[in-house]
């Protein structure tokens, strides 16, 4: 169409006409403008709080952090210059997270698949859904003391170090990890379900049309397709496990170093006690027994770096996925 619109600007200097008049806040009544100002204030305040926390921890952390602390075992000493670093808490954090996710990830995926793909009988599915919802809301400290009593049972004593007396110690990496898995489970289930729901229906139909059974479809078509969703759930769960303190304080024994129990090499560590970065921060804060703020700041700084990194991973994973709510 070579015919120019009669009202179209002809000269290069003529301004482009506005097709969509923008509703400028300058024309609003005062009340609305005050509201808008409050919105800006709230948004900026949130940014400021976040920046303040991150900057504060970075400054304090870098001030007190010595690189040697990252590779030194902590020891009990009144003199803070001799009480070592936090190698064991770092290892403990990774170990506990690994144990928790090894339990939570397969279980979470299985339950999510069952809930979305089968869900028969319906009453059982509803009950499972409600149960998961309840666990998601249960405070971790409640999970922690529940775990302590259950696993102090002599029957479950093989999971922790033996102690003098009738019952087991009830505190070990395995036990803390099991309760941590319960904490991460709802996050994994939620992500996987969202991902499964977001899959287009023709994916399943195409597989059925080829004569594949439901089980094969799930294993060969659906699970590969929702890999990003599983990864997101895993990362969210990992973040929750790394950040939790209550379960660690109650269920990991709180020994300064990772101490094995029994002879077998890997199993002894898993049955043994230790601590994580979060409990190290707690114990070294003025609220805990250690009261060594520099150590607490340094460990908190490391912890925050881990969390930020994980957050970034979740962000990358969630990109391009539709229907993934961005916080759980």
């Amino acid at each position: 169409m070579a015919v120019a619109h009669p009202e179209a600007p002809t000269g290069a200097a003529a301004p482009r006409p506005r097709t969509r008049p923008v509703d400028s806040s300058a024309s609003w009544p005062l009340r609305d403008r005050v509201g808008l100002a409050l919105c800006w204030a709230a948004g900026l305040a949130l940014c400021l709080i976040c920046a303040a926390i991150v900057l504060f921890l970075t400054v304090k952390g870098l001030e007190s952090l010595r690189l040697s602390w990252l590779v030194e075992h902590p020891t009990a000493d009144l003199d803070q210059s001799k009480s070592g670093g936090f190698l064991d808490p770092i290892v403990g954090t990774f170990l506990l997270t690994a144990v928790g996710m090894v339990i939570a990830a397969p279980l979470g995926v299985a339950i999510a698949v069952w809930l979305t793909e089968y869900a028969r009988p319906a009453w059982l599915a509803r009950a499972v859904e409600s149960g998961v919802e309840i666990v998601a809301g249960t405070p971790s400290i409640v999970l922690a003391i529940f775990g302590l009593i259950v696993f102090s049972n002599t029957a479950l004593g093989f999971l922790s170090a033996p102690v003098e007396g009738a019952s087991a110690f009830g505190r070990s990496f395995l036990i803390a990890g099991a309760m941590m898995a319960l904490l991460a489970l709802p996050l994994v289930i939620g992500s996987v379900r969202e991902a499964l729901h977001a899959l287009p229906g023709h994916l399943r139909e195409a597989s059925y049309a080829l004569g594949k059974t439901k089980a094969t479809t799930i294993r060969k078509v659906l699970l590969p397709a929702i890999r990003p969703g599983i990864a997101t759930g895993g990362a969210l769960g990992t973040g929750r496990i790394i950040g939790d303190t209550a379960i660690v304080i109650v269920l990991l024994g709180g020994t300064l170093q990772i101490e094995g129990a029994g002879g077998l090499p890997i199993l002894s560590t898993l049955r043994g006690t230790g601590q994580t970065l979060t409990s190290y921060v707690y114990n070294n804060s003025p609220a805990g027994e250690g009261n060594a703020p520099e150590k607490a700041y340094a460990a908190a700084f490391v912890l925050m770096l881990v969390i930020i990194a994980l957050n970034w991973v979740v962000d990358r994973l969630a990109k391009g996925q539709e229907g993934i709510t961005w916080i759980r």
């Binding site: 509703d23 609003w28 609305d32 808008l36 409050l38 919105c39 800006w40 204030a41 709230a42 948004g43 305040a45 949130l46 709080i49 976040c50 926390i53 504060f56 921890l57 304090k60 279980l107 299985a110 339950i111 069952w114 089968y118 028969r120 059982l124 409600s130 149960g131 919802e133 309840i134 809301g137 249960t138 405070p139 971790s140 400290i141 409640v142 003391i145 529940f146 009593i149 439901k214 089980a215 799930i218 973040g239 790394i242 950040g243 939790d244 303190t245 209550a246 304080i249 109650v250 979060t278 707690y282 804060s285 609220a287 607490a296 700041y297 908190a300 912890l303 969390i307 962000d315 709510t325």
Partner: protein
């Protein structure tokens, strides 16, 4: 033959997955039953006065812990702990609600893209920061400031032998808790606001209503179930927060007295979850353990009710197509 085997394989997969889910459900039900059974002696001994006030909760807890062998002491009036939980939760969620609705509206509608690009990760990070870090920062940075600037020495001395007053107390606990629960609410409300059908807001705009009022009258109103869900879920989170509160709430079983004027806000509290953290080492004493389980039962019951409520509210939201 092959068909039958294949059918069996499918059947097996369903059975295995279903059995796994049922096992987890049983575990969860077992946990609830277990906590309730263990908590029962404390409730049955005290009756309704368990929830009442009277007596000094701190010395009562000590008495329970030191109860002589054979004769268990259970007497407890847990009102100060319940009141502390209630105060911190209600204040934090109330403050957080105002804050989060404003921020959510800002993120969805009014923030320039550059600001919104920063704000979303910020909210996500605030939600991911471990509670122990919040506790540490509050304890080492804010608590001394409150102690120096907001607490009068005369008041401190005056009540010294009743209750210790310092930087840690209701105010600090509420402020930090607000920061912790706000991101959850923002996330839920933002999702709901973004899902309001465009035609509704466009219709409003076409009638000459400005963007602010459109947002407020149409979008926020449509998102009301989501706001309710956010409040409920945030309340569940606030209720269960243990570590941060154990660090900054003052950890002294005391019910702040509103008649003390502004000092009300600096008086210490000890919410239920924080009480459990503070006493988790004493579970070897049987009546004491049962008392702690009673705290856990109250927490479990209320948080379960809240999260189921939030779940229902969210489902309601989904039904209307605005998540």
């Amino acid at each position: 033959m092959g068909l039958v085997r294949r059918w069996r394989a499918t059947e097996r997969a369903e059975l295995a997955l279903g059995a796994l889910s049922a096992t987890v459900l049983l575990l969860i039900a077992g946990m609830i039953a277990f906590v309730l059974v263990n908590a029962w002696p404390s409730f049955s001994h005290n009756g309704l006065s368990w929830f009442g006030s009277g007596g000094d909760v701190n010395s009562e807890l000590v008495d329970i812990f030191n109860s002589p062998g054979g004769r268990h002491v259970y007497t407890l009036h847990a009102w100060p702990l319940l009141f502390g939980t209630l105060l911190t939760t209600v204040f934090a969620v109330g403050l957080g609600l105002v804050f989060s609705v404003l921020t959510a509206v800002f993120i969805v509608e009014f923030a320039p893209p550059s600001v919104s690009r920063v704000l979303r990760p910020v909210v996500r990070l605030l939600a991911a920061v471990p509670s122990v870090i919040y506790g540490l920062v509050a304890l080492l940075a804010l608590s001394p400031w409150i102690n120096d600037h907001l607490v009068s020495q005369s008041f401190k001395l005056q009540v010294n032998n009743i209750v210790p007053i310092g930087g840690n107390g209701l105010l600090l606990a509420t402020v930090v808790l607000t920061v912790m629960v706000t991101p959850i609410m923002i996330a839920i409300i933002v999702d709901a606001l973004a899902a309001v059908p465009r035609s509704w807001t466009e219709g409003s705009a076409a009638l000459g209503v400005n963007r602010w009022r459109t947002m407020w009258r149409i979008s926020v109103r449509t998102a009301r179930p989501a706001i309710a869900a956010g409040v409920v879920l945030a309340a569940a989170r606030a209720l269960g927060e243990a570590i941060m509160l154990a660090m900054v709430s003052g950890s002294f079983g005391f019910s702040p007295n509103p008649l003390d004027g502004l000092h009300f806000f600096v008086e210490p509290v000890q919410p239920l979850a924080a009480t459990i953290v503070a006493n988790a080492e004493g579970l070897s004493s049987k009546p004491f353990a049962q008392t702690i389980y009673a705290f856990a039962a109250v927490l479990l019951f209320s948080s379960a009710a809240l999260s189921l409520g939030g779940h229902l509210a969210r489902r309601q939201v989904r039904r209307y197509g605005t998540r």
